[in-house]
């Protein structure tokens, strides 16, 4: 089994549209939406949810103002500036600033502070026309998106192993922070979606530097390449210096947005379009290349 994660650094380069298209092409796969912050893959795959699980992201502390003597010990120890005096001169904790470290709860001499686990996040196992999808919905403003990414990936792996699937396809989050790190840790290969803009190349470069520390194979594609041929060439040159295979150059076409509006992948919406042909070729190339990569070398 191989696990592939689709990432970009910059948001909005087309990760989800590409992931959706690949989902329809991979014969034997479990699909997994790692962009738990702003998950969109389900808008194309319209899943039938078969399992729903609450996910505890961490703790939030609360002060019982009837017990609090306002000594301020909690406030001086809180490194997240989460404890404030409200209009009624009571000490209160802003749940959005509370990191959930529970230090205030432990040091309060009046035992006036209690923490509760927040379970405002959910993750799901669903059926789709392309196979099983593991996905999640975070509560607004929640912390620990990295932990939730790790959870959905763990479940996807279990399902893939139990059903002898050949692939796990992860739709990754933007950025290079905790969610991206959680999405990359332990995956077998990364596919990077770059668009011909200076921002996208800058962001892809930071992402590639992060991936280098994971020492996993990387493939790249340029989406909407014909919008700026000069920058597409710079990206191709850059990838060459990094020894990263450029597996596709996908042209710009409004059909990509129309497919999204129709809740279809581009390959379903326009199977014979240049975009669809290019995506099919790219999938073929990745399959060919991965047969040559020995993931478990015998010593």
């Amino acid at each position: 089994m191989m696990e592939m994660t689709i990432l970009s650094g910059k948001g909005g380069t087309g990760k989800t549209s590409i992931t959706a298209a690949l989902s329809g092409l991979v014969q034997s796969a479990v699909l997994c939406d790692n962009d738990v912050d702003a998950a969109d893959l389900h808008l194309i795959l319209h899943p039938d949810i078969i399992e729903e699980h609450a996910f505890a992201s961490g703790w939030k502390a609360e002060i019982d103002t009837s017990k609090c003597k306002r000594c301020g010990i909690c406030q001086s120890h809180c490194r997240f500036d989460a404890i404030h005096t409200n209009a009624a001169e009571k000490l209160v904790i802003n749940p959005f600033q509370c990191e959930g470290c529970r230090l205030c709860e432990r040091i309060c001499p009046e035992q006036a502070i209690r923490s509760e686990q927040y379970t405002n996040n959910y993750w799901y196992v669903s059926n789709t026309r392309f196979g099983t999808l593991v996905h999640a919905k975070m509560g607004p403003g929640e912390e620990n998106s990295g932990k939730l990414v790790t959870q959905v990936r763990k479940k996807a792996k279990e399902i893939a192993l139990a059903n002898q699937k050949e692939w796990i396809i992860n739709d990754g989050p933007p950025g290079i922070g905790c969610a991206a790190i959680a999405s990359l840790t332990g995956t077998d290969l990364a596919l990077i979606v770059i668009e011909p803009s200076k921002s996208s190349l800058h962001d892809a470069d930071r992402l590639i530097k992060l991936i280098e520390s994971f020492k996993i194979p990387v493939f790249a594609l340029i989406n909407k390449f014909d919008l700026n041929l000069e920058l597409s060439q710079s990206i191709a040159n850059y990838l060459k210096t990094k020894n990263i295979p450029l597996v596709a150059k996908i042209p710009f076409d409004k059909a990509m947005v129309h497919a999204m509006i129709n809740k279809q992948t581009i390959v379903e919406y326009q199977p014979n379009s240049n975009i669809s042909k290019e995506i099919k070729k790219l999938w073929h190339k990745i399959q060919l290349s991965t047969h040559t990569i020995d993931l478990h070398p015998t010593i």
Binding site: G11, A38, G58, H77, L103, I176, A179, K198
Partner: protein, 290 residues
Amino acid sequence: MPYKIAIASGKGGTGKTSVSVSLQHFIRKQFTNQVQLVDCDVEEPNDILFFPNATKKNSKIITQRVPKIDKNQCNFCKKCADYCEFNAISIIPSIKMAKVNSSLCHSCGACLVACEQSAIKETEQPIGLINFYHEKNHINLIEGELKIGSAMQTLVIKEVKKQASKQSQIILYDAPPGTSCPVVETISDVDFIILVSEPTPFGLHDLKLMVELLNELQKPYCVIINKAGIGNRDIYTYLKQEQIEILGEIPFDQEYATNYANGSLLKTIPQKISKEFEIITDKLIKRVYA
């Protein structure tokens, strides 16, 4: 006190950076020089790409405090590991192991309080940079840059925000994508939020997530529809139904998109785009001084 505005979106790539950079440009042109841009998308800071004449004035290293356990003092009681809610400390008494995994540490200081042997001290570990850029003697851009490999983006955002000038009349925060803690940190103290969306199903879905978050935080906001003309009309129906103000619409324009791609957004602005930004800026300034 400066008036603080965050530019956020939920979905990435809707045009937060273009709107932030352009707004600063038009506010300066139409209203005041005292407008500072703070790039809070610390994982992928891009604002600087649109200031070809800016130079870096200086940089400041941002560090995270990470505990270090002195094994000569430690009695392996495990209290620090019990206090650590983030599983960053492993203690194995039988082999006298006391280890901190710094990538899991949230720098809360609980372990220091826990330790009765005074065996824990904190060391500073770099997690990013704050870069100050100036152009014509104005510091008009402050950028947070997360160190590659660090997962402490929220702390970097907190630190970069502290550096914005109190003398500014207006501060613009270019927010990261998503709806989780880095976004909450960015918008926590702002007066107003501009949500940038695009008229596509993904744009609308993620806009709804942001609206849900802002309603919960009880923050005032409005929407700029970027790339108007692509996609469909669903976003307009939604905004009308929810009675959310549309501050303006930026039409999809090939020339503007090309300028964005090249980093020359502010060099030549297509007339229909600049007209739209002038109207948006006027509306915004009225709100600032309401």
